[in-house]
């Protein structure tokens, strides 16, 4: 049995981080999700999913020096790990292979 695939929201989250480059911080990731996927997600679900994916090893974070605008609080910057990338590729492969030969449906939209 193969490993299960990333969930839809997890994929979106990882892609949004990748789009943010090296500088993906939480507010930016949320904005990316909203702009590109039209996805408004609750703050709590957003953070717990990030933490869970970190626990699974799909992403990691570092903190940057503290700025005043944040009330002296640290800011986390997220990066997708090699394993996270592999998971994204697997998901993409599976989807493309399923879409293969179904171009007529794609064209319809």
């Amino acid at each position: 049995m193969g490993k299960s695939y990333l969930g839809e929201f997890e994929q979106m989250l990882l892609l949004a981080i990748l789009r943010g480059g090296d500088d993906a911080y939480a507010l930016e990731i949320r904005r990316e999700l909203q702009e590109h996927a039209g996805r408004r997600v609750s703050r709590g679900a957003f953070y717990t999913t990030l933490d869970r994916m970190q626990a699974k090893g799909y992403l990691r974070w570092t903190t940057r020096p503290i700025s005043n605008a944040r009330g002296g609080r640290p800011q986390r910057h997220f990066q997708v790990t090699e394993e996270g990338l592999e998971q994204l590729r697997r998901a993409h492969r599976a989807l493309t292979s399923l879409w293969d030969g179904l171009d007529q449906y794609l064209a319809q939209s």
Partner: protein, 897 residues
């Protein structure tokens, strides 16, 4: 990125605090709050301040809510689908079980401790509930009263009433719905196809059964007039008699039987379980002759009735006293010194002394339960402090204080459920055995000791109480300490505070067990005294039974005398019987107590007369029991006739008290006042003392006067007698010879109350044995639990002080010094506990005086023995961990830190 101006105000502080509490600790939580802060600042440029604050609060609340739901008890965030905690209770439970399995030894000890506490509590509660709380199975039994009298002149208490007094109360009192009466007897049934049999019977007034409010199962109860002296004989039989003797015959009503020698009719069958007033099997009308003469003599009747709902006990007492005064004004001589009062019916057969002892026991057992809970609390405390780091991490990961408390409570609950179940099962086994031990003991019919619904509910309540007691303190303690304190320094912060709490619990445990051991010690000493008491007579190889003559068959006194004389003659000639005698009262089963005069003494008033124990005996009685006649002679067979000379045999104590100066032989004694018509009886012999007893516990109060005299069958007219047979072999083997000898004389006469003398004495002393064993069990259980508790706490505190002890060792402290340091703490706890316990013990043991034997409740030897026991046990429990302390290797101890 910070487009917001620096002047923007900071987010509401309270909301930030909420977030700090709810979010995971550390950089994760902090960065989330930072993100929110940043967004707040960015929005601040565009929105009004109020809207901004509202927005921030909404975000904070949503986040706090999300994290409080989405974090497992371990503090680990859960997935979005949130199926790990099914609203977290089950997961808490599962986690609790897992934690208990992880520390099996602690869990097993804690479970067994709880089981032991609950088993003892439930067992004792079953006894208390079954004997004093459940009450009579009669409607409104709390209003069922009896009227009793004291004779202040003669010194008699709790007397039943003369028939005339009963009639006066019945006619003049308004306080009762109705007043009925009864007296005890035995009823012989014959005239069917079965051999005659004698049953415990109540001789009742016609209204006695109907006023109780229990209708007959078949037929009817008595109606007015059926108790008059000229009424036809009739009987109402109990369920057991109906089933066993008559095979449940549906046509039993209307059948004629020989009832105590007369032909009478069965009127009805009472329902199962009805054995009013004590443990009676059949009821017949008393058919007493009530003449209207001025003479208020006659038999005595137990008088009872249900108090009217609108009448208080005080009002009824006042009315009864007023009626007594009215009777006294009419019959000043007969009523001299008589006081009347009312009391609850069940107290007639469940004396307040026994009730008090039973309640003391329940208090005692709650003491044991508290010790058990304190032990479990200590175990959980110890574990909680070991788990301090775990709890702190969980708090840091976002588990709220309530969550942590709940988790620890659930662990205690799991312990409680398992322990409670084991305890209930153990209690059930104990109760069954206890009931089996009581099965042939004469006790009121409503006393039914078993594990039933109320007892089970009680056990559940007790279990929850135990869980609350054992779990709450550790949970509050463990969760209440500051997270940073524990994380920074595990061994100081929590542990010291928990140590102090444990210390208090241990002192409490010691105090309770000292108190319980005192009650146990008094009861054990009583048992020893009872077993050691020199009865003054043999109990081995003796068989006893009782016979009763019917007035119809033996109408004249001489008929009865002849019967007893020929019975004795025949018994003596039977093979397999060494010695035979008759007596009104078998030793150990009490005696008559009579107002007595000694010739030559002056008695100014009734209260000056001594009340002395008296027994009717045949010739050969002392010989059968191997009691020496110290002076003079035994009765002669012909003295069983009323026309012979009036003679009496007194015992040594009697001589010592009443005839100390003269030769007792030839002195004159009278059963009654000096001026009464009773004959003066000449002392013909002095017998050695016999412990004949009576009263609560059978052997009676050790403070009872041992003076006693014996009169021959000729001196008193009696229809009842006990047979005493000394046999060469097993006494039971003589039963059939005894029975056939009696039926040869009178085919309608059964023997009853057949028992060996040893069994009779056991029955007479059951209270000491039963209560003694129970109190002893409780005391030993308390001692055991307290020792385990002390040991546990001491070894735990030593293990916490390893570092400190190690440093001391490294600095040159001697093992002896360390031993002293550790022991001192234990010794202090022990000393405080003992002092407190002695105080509680004195109070707790006071109500026991009624059931102790030969022991004052302030018996110094018992107190000293208990103090010695608990000191030795306590010091041992301290010494073992203390020795461990001296074996600490400084290197190891410091490395751990």
């Amino acid at each position: 990125m910070s487009r917001a101006g620096k002047c923007s105000p900071a987010p509401p502080r309270a909301a930030e605090r909420l977030l700090e509490a709810a979010l995971p600790r550390g950089q994760v939580g902090s960065s989330i709050i930072g993100d929110l802060h940043q967004e707040y600042q960015e929005r601040g440029a565009q929105s009004g301040r109020l809207r901004l604050i509202a927005w921030y609060w909404l975000q904070a609340l949503a986040l706090a809510w999300h994290y409080s739901r989405r974090v497992s008890p371990h503090g680990i965030p859960l997935n979005d689908k949130g199926h790990e905690p099914m609203t977290s209770l089950i997961s808490d439970l599962r986690y609790g079980v897992r934690m208990l399995v992880k520390t099996p030894l602690v869990s097993v000890i804690a479970t067994l401790t709880i089981a032991m506490g609950i088993a003892l509590t439930v067992h004792t509660f079953s006894i208390v509930y079954g004997s004093v709380m459940r009450g009579l199975p009669l409607p409104d039994d709390d209003r069922l009263m009896q009227i009793l009298q004291n004779d202040t002149e003669a010194g008699f208490q709790g007397m039943s009433l003369g028939i005339h007094d009963y009639l006066d109360f019945r006619d003049q009192s308004d306080s009762f719905e109705e007043l009925g009466t009864y007296y005890w007897g035995t009823v012989n049934l014959a005239g069917d196809d079965q051999p005659p049999e004698r049953y415990e019977g109540a001789f009742v007034s016609a209204n006695a059964l109907s006023l109780l409010g229990v209708p007959a199962l078949l037929g009817r109860t008595f109606v007015a007039g059926e108790d008059s002296s000229d009424a036809e004989p009739s009987i109402v039989i109990g369920y057991a008699v109906w089933r066993n003797r008559f095979g449940g015959d549906p046509n039993i009503v209307g059948r004629t039987l020989r009832i105590n020698g007369e032909t009478g009719t069965v009127l009805g069958v009472m329902p199962e379980g009805f054995r009013f007033p004590f443990n009676h099997e059949v009821w017949i009308p008393h058919r007493a002759e009530v003449d209207g003469a001025a003479d208020r003599g006659g038999g005595r009747f137990e008088t009872f009735g249900r108090l009217r709902t609108d009448v208080s006990v005080e009002a009824a007492t006042a009315e009864i006293s007023a009626i007594t005064e009215r009777i006294r004004s009419e019959f000043p001589e007969e009523m001299a010194g008589i006081e009347s009062y009312i009391s609850l019916f069940e107290h007639r057969y469940m004396p307040p002394q026994i009730t008090a002892a039973v309640w003391v026991q329940l208090v005692a057992v709650f003491g044991v339960l508290m010790i058990a809970c304190a032990n479990v609390a200590n175990l959980l405390l110890a574990r909680a402090s070991v788990r301090g780091r775990e709890v702190a991490i969980r708090s840091a990961l976002g588990a709220s204080r309530a969550r942590v408390i709940r988790q620890l409570l659930i662990e205690a609950l799991v312990l409680g459920i398992v322990g409670g179940t084991i305890g209930l099962i153990a209690a059930k086994i104990g109760v069954d055995r206890f009931s089996a031990a009581l099965v042939d003991i004469q006790k009121p019919y409503w006393i039914d000791i078993r594990v039933d619904a109320p007892v089970v509910f009680f056990s559940i309540a007790v279990t929850l109480l135990a869980v609350a007691l054992a779990g709450t303190l550790p949970a509050l303690r463990a969760s209440g300490c500051g997270v940073s304190t524990i994380l920074q320094d595990e061994s100081r912060g929590t542990s010291l505070r928990m140590g102090r709490l444990s210390g208090v619990l241990v002192i409490g445990e010691i105090a309770i067990s000292v108190a319980l051991l005192i009650t146990a010690g008094l009861m054990i000493k009583s048992i020893i005294n009872v077993n050691r008491v020199d009865l003054g007579f043999r109990t081995d190889n003796i068989l006893t039974a009782r016979v009763g003559l019917f007035e119809v068959d033996y109408p004249a006194r001489t008929d009865r005398e002849s019967f007893f004389i020929s019975l004795l003659d025949r018994l003596r000639s039977q093979p397999g019987i060494d010695k035979a005698a008759l007596t009104s009262h078998v030793p150990g089963r009490g005696s008559m107590r009579l107002l007595t005069s000694i010739e030559g003494e002056d008695y100014a008033s009734t209260s000056d007369y001594p009340v002395v124990a008296a027994t009717i005996v045949s010739s050969g009685f002392f010989d059968a029991y191997d009691v020496p006649i110290l002076q003079g002679r035994d009765f002669r067979p012909e003295e069983a006739r009323s026309d012979s000379d009036a003679v009496v045999i007194v015992n040594e104590s009697f001589v010592r008290r009443f005839l100390p100066d003269d030769n007792p032989l030839g002195q004159l004694v009278k059963a009654g006042r000096v001026d009464s018509d009773d004959p003066w009886m000449r002392v013909v012999g002095v017998a050695a003392d016999m412990h004949i007893g009576g009263g609560v516990g059978g052997l009676g109060s050790d403070r009872n006067n041992p003076e006693q005299y014996y009169v021959p069958f000729g001196a008193f007219d009696t229809r009842f007698s006990s047979i005493v047979l000394r046999t060469p072999g097993t006494p039971q083997e003589a039963t059939s010879v005894m029975r056939s000898t009696v039926t040869d004389l009178d085919s309608n006469m059964p023997i009853y109350e057949v028992a060996t003398m040893e069994r009779a004495m056991e029955q007479a002393t059951w209270a000491f044995r039963v209560f003694g064993q129970l109190f002893a069990t409780l005391g030993v259980a308390a001692l055991f639990l307290a020792s385990v508790g002390l040991y546990g706490v001491m070894s735990f505190s030593v293990s916490l002080r390893r570092t400190e002890l190690g440093i001391r060792m490294a600095l040159g402290a001697q093992a002896r010094d360390l031993l002293g340091t550790v022991m001192r703490k234990g010794a202090w706890q022990l000393a405080i506990g003992i002092v407190l316990g002695l105080g509680i013990g004195v109070i707790l043991s006071r109500p026991l005086s009624a059931i102790t034997f030969g022991v004052e409740t302030t018996d110094l030897s018992v107190y000293a023995a208990i103090v010695a026991t608990i000191t030795v046990t306590g010091l041992l429990a301290t010494l073992l961990p203390a020795r461990k302390a001296t074996q600490v290797d400084p290197n190891d101890a410091l490395r751990i830190e």
